[in-house]
């Protein structure tokens, strides 16, 4: 087993990996850019190494500096998390050449599945159903236009090297194509360091269903069932759950088998995810392989009881899988909500800035994978993900209610977050009914505004602000907790006030 692992990432996922290392008795090394010096992952790791200025291209994407950090700290392996270098075959190859273990698939498999175009070609050969699309990256805008005509609009522009919605654009008519390709290239370039984009036929209102696979270096492979990730905005997932309300056991078995065939065709080892689109007629199409730990891995962990990060590390260390498909079960239901620093009422506008106050939810079946703390400033340079709130319950209805309660109990002051929006999503009757597809947010939440609180709740807020004003706005004198109240006092209520209601304004 490794003595020391370098975590080549930041935020909640770096925290998650550091935790796994600690539990396994492995020392951890964090890397950080200038603006992340005070970040949570840096505080939690056993050692921390600076790797450059804030822009990712000058820090978290700098393979040379990360490898140097591994060498200088004596780390035997590198965990890349997700994003940044996680699916970069060149980086995996450099690690291999240095004798440092890259915790992920081998560079050859990574190269194959990381290149969406080549992966599609390989999958066609292996008899895997795929969405119609280009088999190569066009060179000129004329070629893009001809290809789009051939596929028939709508088409979707996708980053060849990418995932996570970066570089993606839906194009409904020929006039929009050039701008979409240009914007897709720019975003792909800044996210992945590779500007290539290609086109696929766009399937309307599909469900997004993916399968988690684990494979060791000795030819053993299992799948850990599906995750349904249909609730998305801008092609980025917001809510994920497992089991999917759309699958029955026969379809689950077929898709799981296909997912393993995909990974076999790619010669894949370690943890990976096979993404499918599931259309209204329950046809499924291979979309891509996510050759990394997924953001949404916790829902699988809660339902299967398998610690995916620990398994990744064990597999990378050469251990046999030690799991049989027949032993794996889905128990209960898990839902994850991604807490982004975004203003959902303004088209999910990024909302970086200081976290002035933070209260995180607790309770049975509630898990929070967070990368932030009160007093920390969310930088402008990286993904807006702050944390993931995950709940487990015996069934889907209970999981929905548990999530709604946990979101209500989650307070972040200082920046906008998706907490209020997600609360409305998980309470929406169509979500509760399991009727989710990738058009869900656009259809039900266009122009969403947070409901006004009821008058009595607002009155409490006003009273608190008035107290704060009387106190001199929190500046100056120190307050002693409990100072203003001295034991029980007989008193009466002249008017009522209530908390915790969702009804609309009463006036």
């Amino acid at each position: 087993m490794f003595d020391k692992i370098l975590v080549a990432n930041r935020g909640e996922i770096a925290v998650r990996v550091v935790r796994a290392c600690r539990e396994m008795g492995i020392a951890s090394v964090a890397v950080f850019s200038d603006v992340d010096r005070t970040s949570l992952h840096v505080q939690m790791a056993d050692e921390a190494v600076p790797i450059g200025p804030a822009p990712a291209a000058e820090s978290y994407l700098r393979m040379d500096r990360i490898l140097e950090a591994a060498r200088s700290t004596g780390a035997a392996a590198i965990h890349p998390g997700y994003g940044f270098l996680a699916e970069n075959a060149a980086f995996a190859r450099l690690c291999e050449a240095e004798g440092i273990v890259f915790i992920g698939p081998g560079s050859n498999a990574l190269e194959l599945v990381g290149d969406k175009v080549r992966a599609r070609q390989a999958m066609v050969k292996a008899g895997i159903p795929i969405v119609p699309g280009l088999e190569s990256v066009p060179l000129t805008m004329e070629e893009y236009a001809a290809a789009a005509r051939g596929l028939g609009y709508p088409v979707i522009v996708k980053a060849s090297a990418g995932g996570g919605g970066k570089g993606m654009r839906i194009v409904r008519e020929a006039g929009e194509l050039a701008a979409a390709v240009e914007a897709g290239r720019r975003e792909a370039g800044s996210s992945f360091g590779d500007e290539s984009v290609y086109l696929e036929k766009y399937i309307e209102e599909p469900r997004h269903v993916e399968f988690q696979v684990l494979a060791d270096n000795h030819g053993r492979m299992v799948h850990l069932f599906e995750r349904e990730c249909s609730i998305q905005r801008r092609h980025q997932k917001l809510v994920e759950e497992t089991p999917s309300p759309a699958l029955d056991s026969a379809l689950r078995e077929r898709m799981g088998e296909t997912a393993q065939n995909v990974m076999r065709a790619a010669g894949y080892a370690n943890a990976g995810t096979v993404e499918f689109l599931l259309d209204k007629d329950r046809n499924f199409y291979f979309l891509e392989v996510n050759a990394r730990l997924q953001v949404e891995h916790p829902v699988t962990e809660l339902v299967t009881g398998v610690d995916l990060v620990r398994r990744q590390i064990l597999i990378a260390a050469g251990e046999p899988l030690g799991l049989d498909q027949a032993d794996l079960r889905q128990s209960g239901h898990a839902i994850e909500c991604r807490i982004y620093a975004e203003d959902a009422a303004k088209g999910f506008l990024p909302s970086p800035g200081p976290i002035l106050f933070l209260k995180e939810p607790r309770g049975p079946g509630v898990r929070l994978d967070s990368g932030v703390y009160a007093g920390w400033r969310v930088p402008i340079h990286y993904d807006p993900i702050l944390a993931k709130l995950i709940v487990w319950a015996e069934d889907r209805d209970r999981a929905c209610r548990r999530m709604a309660a946990a979101l209500r109990d989650y307070v972040v002051l200082g920046i906008h977050t998706t907490i209020g929006f997600l609360g409305d999503v998980v309470c929406h009757p169509r979500f509760e009914a399991g009727c989710t597809d990738t058009g869900f947010i656009g259809r039900h939440f266009e122009g969403w505004q947070e409901a006004r609180g009821d008058e009595e709740t607002l009155r409490l807020a006003l009273a608190a602000a008035a107290c704060d004003e009387m106190d001199g706005g929190g500046a100056g004198e120190a307050r002693v907790p409990g100072r203003s109240g001295d034991g029980p006092t007989p008193w009466k209520t002249l008017g009522g006030w209530r908390l915790g209601r969702r009804e609309s304004d009463e006036i």
């Binding site: 914007a183 720019r186 800044s190 801008r234 620093a341 303004k346 088209g347 506008l349 990024p350 970086p352 800035g353 002035l356 106050f357 402008i380 340079h381 990286y382 993904d383 807006p384 979101l407 209500r408 002051l413 200082g414 609360g423 947070e450 409901a451 609180g453 008058e455 709740t457 607002l458 009155r459 409490l460 807020a461 006003l462 009273a463 608190a464 602000a465 008035a466 107290c467 704060d468 004003e469 009387m470 706005g473 929190g474 307050r479 907790p481 100072r483 203003s484 109240g485 001295d486 006092t489 008193w491 009466k492 209520t493 002249l494 008017g495 009522g496 006030w497 908390l499 915790g500 209601r501």
Partner: protein, 168 residues
């Protein structure tokens, strides 16, 4: 003591009277009495018969952010700038011909030059934050009179990026 705040664009007046350990809170005809304890810098306890509730508060410049009942209210003292995030992603309002940064971020591209005529809905500046591009477009046809930023600049929310003279 009376306090005036603006919440969701509406002016609210609230009166607070301390009476012994208690507080009488009055807004219009609505009145309640409770013991209010500030248990930490950011936490207020409201103690009433059969019910205790916690309200969270943080100051952000001129604004107070208050969380009660699972919802965050933004309160501004009446008479002060109601919203420092003025502008919004929809570009300038008719009355305001300047294009402001909708969020803190980095200028990726300035798509126009000073003196250039622009069409309605034409891209003017692209600002990026958290890997998301925000394409700021002209709300109406006009002429670019002044550009305040260059590609690569880091800007704060509400920073004026360029000025536009609408065509009449």
């Amino acid at each position: 003591m009376k306090f005036e705040f603006v919440v969701d664009g509406a002016r609210r007046t609230i009166a607070l009277e301390k009476k012994g350990g208690l507080c009488i809170v009055q807004e219009g005809r609505a009145v309640f009495e409770a013991e209010i304890r500030r248990v930490s810098e950011n936490e207020f306890l409201f103690l009433a018969p059969g019910r205790t509730a916690k309200v969270y508060l943080a100051r952000d410049g001129e604004r107070r952010l208050v969380s009660a009942g699972g919802r965050v209210f933004t309160l501004t003292e009446a008479g002060r700038d109601p919203d420092r995030f003025g502008g919004g992603e929809d570009g300038p309002s008719k009355a305001d011909s300047s294009i402001k940064a909708p969020m803190p971020g980095k200028v990726i591209k300035v798509c126009v030059a000073e003196g250039e005529r622009v069409r309605k809905n034409q891209s003017l500046v692209i600002v990026e934050a958290m890997k998301m591009e925000n394409d700021l477009r002209a709300a109406a046809a006009g002429v670019v009179t002044k550009i305040h930023v260059r590609a690569g600049d880091i800007v704060d929310a509400a920073k004026t990026l360029l000025e536009l003279e609408p065509e009449t």
